[in-house]
Amino acid sequence: MSISAATKAATDALAANRAPVSVNAQEVHRWLQSFTWDFEKNRTKYPTKYKMANETKEQFKLIAKEYARMESVKDERQFGSLQDVLTRVDAGNRVHPKWNETMKVVSNFLEVGEYNAIAATGMLWDSASAPEQKNGYLAQVLDEIRHTNQCGYVNYYFTKHGQDPAGHNDARRTRTIGPLWKGMKRVFSDGFISGDAVECSINLQLVGEACFTNPLIVAVTEWAAANGDEITPTVFLSIETDELRHMANGYQTVVSIANDEAASKYLNTDLNNAFWTQQKYFTPVLGMAFEYGSHFKVEPWVKTWNRWVYEDWGGIWIGRLGKYGVESPRSLRDAKKDAYWAHHDLFLIAYALWPTGFFRLTLPTAQEAEWFEANYPGWYDHYGKIYDEWRARGCEDPASGFLPLQWFMENNHQIYIDRVSQVPFCPTLSKGASTLRVHEWNGKKHSFSDEWGERQWLTEPERYECQNIWEQYEGRELSEVIAELHGVRSDGKTLIAQPHTNKDGKLWTLDDLKRIDCVFKDPLKAL
């Protein structure tokens, strides 16, 4: 064939069958769908009671290239703002000192949740069999990697540009001292990655993301902004833009199992357990972080909770899943009761245990006390009075030799830890619904604070094996434990945690604690 004939043949062929000059994303997505796996032989590595359908769709239909383009634009805006304008206006130092402390907890803890969400969505990718559904989960894996970096970056930024960095940096080294970490790992770690793969999706996507990211990632930005913090909204709202995809993934998980008869047997039990697991920690901890960790108040936590958890999620979102047999969790009503007093109960204990933290706490000021009383009538008589007494005894001053924990001991108020949620509670001081239940089984005592958790433990005791701080440190002196487990600043003696945020106030050291000779005692031993 001559060259001209060959050229002509090629030109004719092209005319009939045009070479693509560009491919639109939807075409690529359609093409991707033709890649399917042999599901007879290809099985998941993870256990699940459910069968995910092969035909499940996914709304976002993203391909990697589109995804990367979109996320890089978001990252540019976010890091650009942080590194340029926010640094120029000295944003780190405009944050109210109380809120600066709250972000030590919020961003470090959320980072753990994001990290486990990477693993959880990787597991779901492996468990699903529909190509579209796998693609949806895979996009979420990428998102969660992004979020892990973002949360780490918030604490890094505060450390570098803000006030009192101790605790923003290297918070993780204190993880075995205080009880807050352990409860957080129940919801953010075990809840997302252990047990049934679909149950993990329900924990992460249907409850964690569809229900609690609204208060956790959105409401927190309002509280942050009200307290002078422009850093957190810049990052967290960027995180939240990805959450729609995650809520949709949770929705699709339910759609994918809806036709399997297993769904009618197990789904509502798994949902109830997931909801109770998540709310038992988040309801008190978020309420406490907002109301007690801020100077300027946005609205009472009970209102936020009712709007987002009860009405929006329990009513509307779960209602939309009704056609797939999903019912509002039967524990929702009990949770609603917790949303009123539980965070006040928890702050009382958190403040008493302040040396075990990695942040500074402050007692409510007189102005704040007024706000609490106005929004939670009866607050002062129950809690406010106690804070007045602690303050009068000098709880903020290292020279006073007074720890609120001693007040609990003097007055015989025992602090127990719920075996299932890991959340501490004090039955003789709780205004919330917590009730003490203690069982002995195979030579070991276990305490619980509510009926839902007790049932979870009675059903799966091996899942909740752990040692709480009383069991771990029984008989040991407080300053010794803190020194051993890295709770001090770089001078080797000043505690990271402090009971005030007063710039002129003295900072407590290991020696101040040692003089008090506070010894850990497991209340279960006496029973």
Partner: protein, 165 residues
């Protein structure tokens, strides 16, 4: 200093004991005895409550090394550390699990399987998939009729002694 978390006399003592294990047979026996005595909710003793996780890990590490020394590749992939056919052992447990409809028996089968075979006793390629199959069945049985029994009844069935509540 009393009872430190990371460095303490209990861990030192076990480091010595583990160091003395010089054959696979001895290592396997020590690990098996230790697991029954100190691990899982069915353990005989809570005496090592603060250190069992660390000690078990060190024992596993030692057994893995001894296995590496004494086993060839074929054995490594297909046999338990006792020398039995791993898949056959797994199949026996899977058949037992398939035959039960009782959640408490299923729990004993599953926890018992982990007690006896958790790697490095059974090769991971066999262990993991067996664990998935057993776990799936256990979760199914546990979640059926989850709320049927009132708490008071459930406590009795679980066999707890109620101290308060």
């Amino acid at each position: 200093m009393a009872n430190k978390i990371h460095d303490n006399s209990i861990r030192d003592e076990w480091t010595q004991k583990i160091g003395a294990l010089n054959t696979l047979a001895k290592g396997v026996e020590a690990l098996d005895t230790f697991r029954h005595q100190y691990t899982t909710p069915f353990r005989n003793s809570y005496d090592l409550e603060l250190d069992w996780g660390w000690i078990e890990l060190k024992l596993e590490e030692k057994v893995a090394l001894l296995k590496h020394k004494e086993f060839n590749d074929q054995q490594f992939l297909n046999q338990t550390a006792y020398g039995a056919d791993a898949q056959k052992e797994a199949d026996t447990v899977i058949a037992k699990m398939a035959a039960t409809t009782d959640k408490y028996e299923a729990e004993r089968i599953h926890i018992g399987f982990r007690l006896k075979f958790k790697p490095p006793i059974m090769p991971v390629n066999v262990f993991q998939d067996t664990d998935r199959i057993l776990g799936t069945k256990l979760m199914e049985l546990r979640n059926i009729g989850y709320y049927d029994l009132p708490l008071a009844e459930l406590r009795k069935v679980r066999g707890v002694r109620v101290i308060t509540g």
